[in-house]
């Protein structure tokens, strides 16, 4: 091997060493490989989720009844909403009250069903679960119109009762039937997280408590409920978030006997031609729901619920 060749090889080695060092320094500075590979999707998701959110927030601070976002800044939309002469607070109140009542009713309705799915129904559990999931494959509006036909004068219920000389109850187009519709619609969203929560209560623990002489109520209060609580809270949260934004039940079954906040938002974007007001209402709704969600999430240990720990 000549000196010249040796000289070239050493230069190449030196160069390669420097490149390696550079790459390693870059690796220290930059993101890990996984994050780099995921960055296109992360960027896509950021655009998909954040862009509309930022646009809504931008509109909330735009001049009332304008269609240009990020070109003006005003708090007038919020001032109008908080003006005592504006009755939009009633829509907020109805939405939140009905959402809370829906959650409360579903807690009572779903607990025995979830308990049955986990501990009683055995091999029938899957079939019962499917029965609760199946309605989700049909559009919510179609199902609600179905209930309208069931309850309406000369409808299914009225017709059946007429056979025994009775008439159907006059329940359509009331706030009560709106609540019924919400309970019906959101039942699966409470049931399945609750079932998951209950399924995570170890049977051995209950057996042990029973062996030590604990009664049914004590076992429920001291073991079952605390251990199932994360699932119950997730179900309650999910149901509340969905129910607070509900509108179809009040429109189709309730005949708009109450106006929900989502209906007001929809109106602002359509008939009122006041996108900034609609956006401001949406931002306020997000703050209320987001605040409540954060408060509940702070009490949850998702890793434990998902079985990672």
């Amino acid at each position: 091997m000549s000196d010249a060749t040796l000289g070239t090889s050493s230069t190449v080695r030196e160069k390669q060493g420097k490149e390696r060092q550079g790459r390693s320094a870059l690796r220290h500075l930059s993101l890990p490989a996984g994050a780099r590979c995921a960055s296109p999707i992360l960027l896509f998701m950021a655009l998909g989720f954040l862009a509309p959110l930022l646009t809504v927030i931008g509109f909330a601070f735009a001049e009332p009844r304008s269609f240009a976002v990020f070109e003006s800044f005003t708090l007038r939309n919020f001032a109008e909403i908080f003006n005592p002469a504006d009755t939009v607070w009633m829509s907020f109140a109805w939405s939140l009250a009905l959402a809370l009542l829906t959650v409360a009713a579903l807690l009572l309705i779903c607990y025995p069903i979830a308990y049955g799915l986990v501990r009683v129904f055995g091999r029938w559990s899957s079939l019962v679960s499917i029965a609760f999931v199946f309605p989700l494959f049909i559009s919510e509006n179609v199902r609600l119109y179905g209930w309208t036909l069931f309850f309406i004068n000369h409808g299914v219920l009225d017709g059946l009762l007429a056979g025994i000389g009775l008439s159907g109850p006059n329940v359509l187009f009331t706030p009560e039937i709106t609540l019924f519709g919400m309970i019906y619609t959101y039942l699966p969203f409470m049931l399945f997280p609750m079932t998951l929560g209950l399924s995570m209560v170890p049977g051995d623990l209950i057996e042990a408590a029973r062996d030590f002489g604990a009664g049914r109520l004590m076992i429920w209060r001291e073991i079952e409920l605390p251990l199932a609580m994360p699932g119950i809270l997730i179900g309650a949260l999910l149901t509340f978030v969905l129910a607070a934004g509900a509108v179809a039940e009040a429109k189709i079954l309730g005949g708009q006997s109450v106006i929900m906040i989502s209906h007001d938002i929809e109106n602002a974007f359509t008939y009122s031609q006041n996108w900034p007001r609609g956006a401001a209402l949406a931002v306020l709704l997000m703050i209320v729901i987001g605040g409540l969600s954060m408060a509940v999430m702070a009490r949850l240990d998702l890793d434990r619920i998902l079985g990672r720990r």
């Binding site: 590979c37 296109p40 999707i41 009844r65 269609f67 002469a85 504006d86 009755t87 939009v88 009633m90 829509s91 109805w94 119109y145 309208t148 036909l149 309406i152 004068n153 000369h154 409808g155 359509l172 187009f173 706030p175 429109k251 189709i252 005949g255 708009q256 006997s257 109450v258 106006i259 007001d264 109106n267 974007f269 359509t270 008939y271 009122s272 031609q273 006041n274 996108w275």
Partner: protein
Amino acid sequence: MTNFNRRDTLKILGAGALAAGAPLGFPGAALAAREKELNILCWEGYNSAQVLDPFREKEGATVKAESLTNDPTMINRLRSGESKVWDLINVNNPWARKIMYPEKLIKPLPKDEFMPYFDKMLEQFHPPYKWAMSDDGSELLGMTQRFGPYSYVVNTDKISRKTAEETGWDLFNDESLAGKYGILESDDWNVFNIFLVAGLDPFKEHSPEEMKAFEDTALKVFKGAKLIGDIATMNQALISGEIDLHMTGGTYSVSPARADGFPEMRAITPLKGPMNGKGGVSWIEVTSTVNNPELSPLAPEFLKYVQDPEVAHTVAFAEGTFNPVAQMGNKACFDLFTKDELDAIQWDSLEEEMARSVEYDIVPDYEKALDLMNNAKRQRS
């Protein structure tokens, strides 16, 4: 077994991104693609397969139509930048002339090509037809087709046609009817009608006293309503006996119930009212070409296509609602309507009802009135 790894996923994503970016990168290609593409923003009916499929086949084109059920939303879509998306917009009469053309949201049509169609329409649409023309009368802004009176609907087994016509809007001031009527969720029209129930002409500026009367009337009318809902709900409630009448309605809303065998459900136009003696309001759809920088050449072709007697008859009886069409002035089109179809659209009284109606117009203080009405609606609970 096939392993689908991250590398494959990235390849697909890359290909997808290229495909998505292609039209942006090659504007010429995008423009060429528009020759076989048409996007229509319309009221329901024009989006039905019965109307669109023959045109798709004839032109070998991709035709997309989105239907909405109120004019302001459609106008807002154009205002928010969707002029680049749509080729045709189908809204009610005042919008083209008073709003969309002044705001440069639509383009005029070539008069030599389209004016002759108006000669064959019903007499009231003969050229120059006001709502199809620009304010100065120089430009043709759109083509007319469906129309109808739109005031209220009654079950004539419960309230006779004579009583409903003679009593007029005072039906909704009658306390004995509280809880027996519904209100169609058509808020722009409800604004007109609350003014009319208050004895006021909606299409003029209103004094503070008149706005107060509007507010009081809105509170009373919404409080007394059994329900507010869409057309299907109103017809269902009328047929089932839940309600005897509903505010905001006409041939457009009640014709499906009549066609289904309930001729006792009837659109009513009051005999008198506060609009220079007239009590009813009517609508006429005007379809215009959008001011799209890359307007599809199929847009004017579609406007000509729907003038054909058979297609016009299909539009009149497209799914959803049934309506008279201006093209019924052409005998070839009129002869396609059966007796039952003419009954469904109340052809027997159409002319007199249109004569008793003023044409839909912009309410100068609409925004204020709508806010007052929404407040009233919330207080009904």
